[in-house]
């Protein structure tokens, strides 16, 4: 039995938009020298302090 799944790809425009968002996130994380995943926690700590 053979199967082939046609995945719906995101459009190039969507991909570029997502990449732009990733850039903003990276830039922000770099400013405070943290991992992107930890940015929210770091911001919360700054706001708390």
């Amino acid at each position: 039995m053979e199967k082939e799944e046609e995945k719906e790809m995101i459009t190039k425009k969507e991909f570029q938009e997502l990449k732009q968002k990733e850039k903003w996130l990276k830039e922000a994380a770099k400013i405070v020298s943290t991992r992107e995943e930890d940015l929210l926690k770091t911001i919360e700590r700054f706001q708390k302090d």
């Binding site: 995945k7 790809m9 995101i10 996130l25 940015l39 706001q47």
Partner: protein, 776 residues
């Protein structure tokens, strides 16, 4: 490894069988034993007592060429080429000096071009028969002698004459020696009585045979090897197709036609003239003519103490060792620089990268040795200047090299900076050692060289009172000469089991199938008669799924048999329903094809030196380690990702073809060996349009568009000369970006700003936080 001494003992029991050729009878050569070294040789001079090797007889051609016509380095090659073409040989283009087709880091002999492995057995594959090739070879085991004895090189041209003989086609010893004698006497005009043939043997990886070295005027010009046995002298068989392999020293042939003080003077030609001019070194040609007659015996392999050897030469010349040192040290350094820069030019042009491991380590040795000479003598020219001079001088012979100069300049410049940094580090180490009143042993020197890349000369310069062992560089480079063949660990005896039918090669989209259990091993390992489960291999992870509803935990391949590890036992002989985790396999396939795309994009963006040194393709992500000389900049990452996605959007077809190895190499080049040496006669070539062709055993999607967009997640310089690229593709890439989007949205919400304002808002918050901290 076969012991050469033992082999010679056996062959000498029957010299007529192994060395006597018709030429010797026809011309009246007699067999004699050298009174100096004990070797047997064949000569036309009845009363000759020595074999004519450099260690038994001083050169007799310095200032007195042995040929009527003086030939330049390039004219010498042309003479050899025309002679062999006239005699029915095809001339092949040189192979890369970085060896991709056999487990060696570099092409160390002309015949290596044709070495191939079938499993672990050596085979020879010739694109034409008979043929010759002007092969540039790199050897790093003789570095201490380079520049000193007038004939040693780390980079030289071995013109190889090769021929396969099966009893009908091709030719064997008699014709070979007729040709080689004619080359010497007719093409070059050397007198017959000047020629001696010394008996020797050649021992290669699992093959061997007798050989005859041609010696003229105190120097070996060529070695005619007759490879006729595979195995060891205790356990061997005669080859069906015997191999003629003649290594002709281009540098030496050119040298004897000119009679210059050293072979370097003719080999490096204009490059040497420019080096002398730029350095301002005075070259006393008359002194060198006298000196070089004896310098041929200055072989660091045999002469343990170079100081004593210099004293011996001084006595021969009725001068002092100091005068010799004053007159020759700077010139010897220039000769070494000429050799080393030529070595680097070819190695870097062919994709080599200096580093602190493997073959790259040897490139760094010659590079840093050259830089240390520049410093020692306070010369102002750059190593790249010499590279350019070589490219210009050799462009008639090797027109492909000048195209690579830009890349070579960049790599050398980066290495020069690293060298400066390493010198600073050395200063600090020496200061510490002095404070602690410690010195350095030979072992310490090797350790510092290997781990920190510090040449011993730097310790001397930095004020350490140490003696550098003469064979230091041979020792450190010897550790990095040969590549490794990974030995497969065999856990199960599959010798009596039929090869598994590999359904994943017939259809990579087959996820459900029926098969019969052929064999059950302990711990629930089973073998099916056929399978679509891909086993771990080639960097691609194994498939999971179920067999008769039982979870498949692992899949491996041993020889041509696939083994599946199940969660629970199953009965032998049963016909079973097999189901592969389809979503997972599709993601792995997309990541596999994405790896080929990333490699093609890297070559375009970063340069043709990029080569895969390892890879991993899983469901979650993929990575490839590439040979590259520095970390990637953000701009390069962006360009690489854009290029990869351009390839995706082109929707190029992925084609798979099985081709004979030689045909695949001729059609696509050695770039097919990205995943390393493939020890089999037929190769499975995966092609992405016209942009990438690789020998590959994995499962692939049908077109680049099916991969989906590729997201380069991170890059990292994981080792000297190696950069790791991590990426995701298709729905995994989208999930990754959606996840980033989510974090950005949360941060934006928290800061009460728009998404595009997040970086500025974070900076503002961070600055305020720092101010507050200061006040506290």
């Amino acid at each position: 490894m076969i012991n050469k001494t033992e082999l010679m003992k056996q062959l000498r029991k029957n010299p007529d069988r192994y060395w006597k050729v018709k030429l010797f009878e026809k011309k009246g050569f007699v067999r004699k034993q050298c009174k100096h070294c004990g070797k047997f040789f064949w000569t036309l001079v009845e009363n000759q007592e020595t074999c004519n090797d450099a260690s038994c007889k001083p050169y007799n051609f310095i200032g007195k060429p042995l040929t009527k016509k003086k030939l330049t380095y390039i004219e010498t090659w042309e003479t050899i080429r025309k002679f062999f073409e006239k005699n029915g040989h095809e001339t092949l283009n040189r192979y890369p000096v970085v060896c991709r087709w056999f487990p060696l880091y570099f092409t160390i002999a002309g015949i290596v071009d044709f070495y191939r492995l079938n499993d672990s057995e050596l085979s020879f594959e010739f694109p034409a028969n008979p043929s010759i090739v002007n092969q540039v070879v790199l050897r790093f085991n003789d570095i201490p002698n380079v520049g000193i004895n007038g004939k040693s090189y780390s980079c030289f041209s071995m013109v190889n004459q090769q021929n396969l003989y099966d009893g009908k086609k091709g030719y064997w010893k008699d014709k070979c020696m007729d040709l080689d004698f004619e080359l010497l006497t007719k093409a070059f005009g050397i007198k017959e009585k000047e020629i001696n043939f010394i008996e020797d043997a050649w021992v290669g990886p699992s093959a061997f045979g007798s050989s005859l070295e041609s010696h003229v005027g105190g120097i070996e010009l060529s070695n005619s090897v007759f490879t006729e046995f595979v195995g060891t002298p205790d356990n061997y068989k005669e080859m069906k197709e015997k191999v003629i392999d003649v290594g002709i020293g281009l540098e030496r042939f050119a040298w004897i036609t000119q009679g210059t003080p050293t072979s370097y003077d003719v080999t490096f030609g204009d490059v040497m003239k420019k080096l002398i001019k730029e350095s301002g070194v005075e070259y006393d040609k008359k002194f060198f003519e006298r000196y070089s007659i004896f310098s041929g015996s200055l072989n660091v392999d045999e002469v343990q103490d170079m100081k004593l050897a210099r004293i011996w030469v001084a006595n021969q010349l009725k001068t002092t060792p100091e005068e010799i040192e004053n007159k020759v040290a700077a010139i010897e350094a220039l000769y070494a620089i000429a050799d080393h820069t030529k070595n680097l030019m070819f190695a870097l042009a062919d994709g080599g990268i200096p580093s602190n491991t493997g073959g790259g380590h040897n490139l760094r040795v010659v590079l840093r040795r050259s830089l240390s000479f520049l410093e020692k003598f306070n010369w102002n020219f750059k190593l790249f200047d010499a590279v350019q001079w070589h490219a210009e001088f050799l462009k008639k012979m090797f027109p492909e090299v000048p195209d690579k100069l830009k890349e070579i300049e960049k790599i050398i410049s980066i290495e020069e900076n690293r060298y400066k940094q390493s010198k600073e580090r050395t200063k600090r180490i020496v200061e510490t050692l002095k404070k602690e009143n410690k010195t350095l042993s030979e072992e310490d020197l090797v350790k510092y060289y290997d781990s920190e890349g510090i040449p011993p000369e730097e310790f001397v310069e930095a004020g350490m009172n140490i003696e550098i062992p003469a064979r230091f560089y041979s020792q450190v480079t010897a550790r990095h000469v040969q590549g490794k063949i990974t030995e497969e660990k065999i856990q199960f005896d599959v010798s009596k089991i039929a090869d598994t039918e590999l359904l994943y090669y017939k259809n990579a989209y087959l996820f459900d199938f029926k098969a019969k259990v052929l064999k059950v091993f302990p711990d629930n390992w089973i073998v099916l008669d056929k399978t679509a489960f891909y086993p771990l291999g080639g960097g691609q992870t194994f498939d999971t799924g179920s067999i008769d509803g039982i979870k498949v935990l692992e899949v491996i391949r041993i020889h041509n048999v696939i083994l599946h590890k199940l969660e629970k036992p199953i009965k032998e002989g049963k016909v079973v329903e097999c189901k592969i985790d389809e979503e997972r396999r599709l993601r792995i396939m997309r990541h596999h094809t994405a790896t080929h795309i990333i490699l093609a994009a890297s070559r375009k963006v970063l340069g043709s030196h990029v080569w895969q040194s390892g890879s991993e393709k899983t469901e979650e992500k993929a990575r490839v380690d590439i040979a590259h000389f520095e970390s990637l900049t953000e701009k390069e990452m962006e360009a690489l990702e854009n290029e990869a996605n351009r390839i995706v959007e082109k929707d190029l077809p992925i084609e798979i073809n099985w081709l004979p190895r030689l045909k695949a190499e001729q059609k696509y080049g050695f770039v097919i060996y990205q995943g390393g040496v493939v020890p089999q006669k037929e190769l499975r070539i995966v092609s992405i349009g016209n942009i990438d062709h690789e020998a590959d055993g994995g499962t692939q999607v049908k077109s680049t568009k099916e991969v989906g967009f590729i997201k380069l997640v991170r890059t990292k310089r994981i080792a000297d000369g190696t950069v790791r690229l991590e990426y995701t593709a298709g729905d995994v890439a989208e999930s990754y970006l959606r996840d980033r989007e989510r974090i950005l949205q949360e941060v934006a919400q928290k800061l009460n700003v728009k998404e595009n304002e997040v970086p500025a808002a974070v900076k503002k918050l961070f600055d305020e936080w720092k101010k507050k901290k200061k006040k506290k």
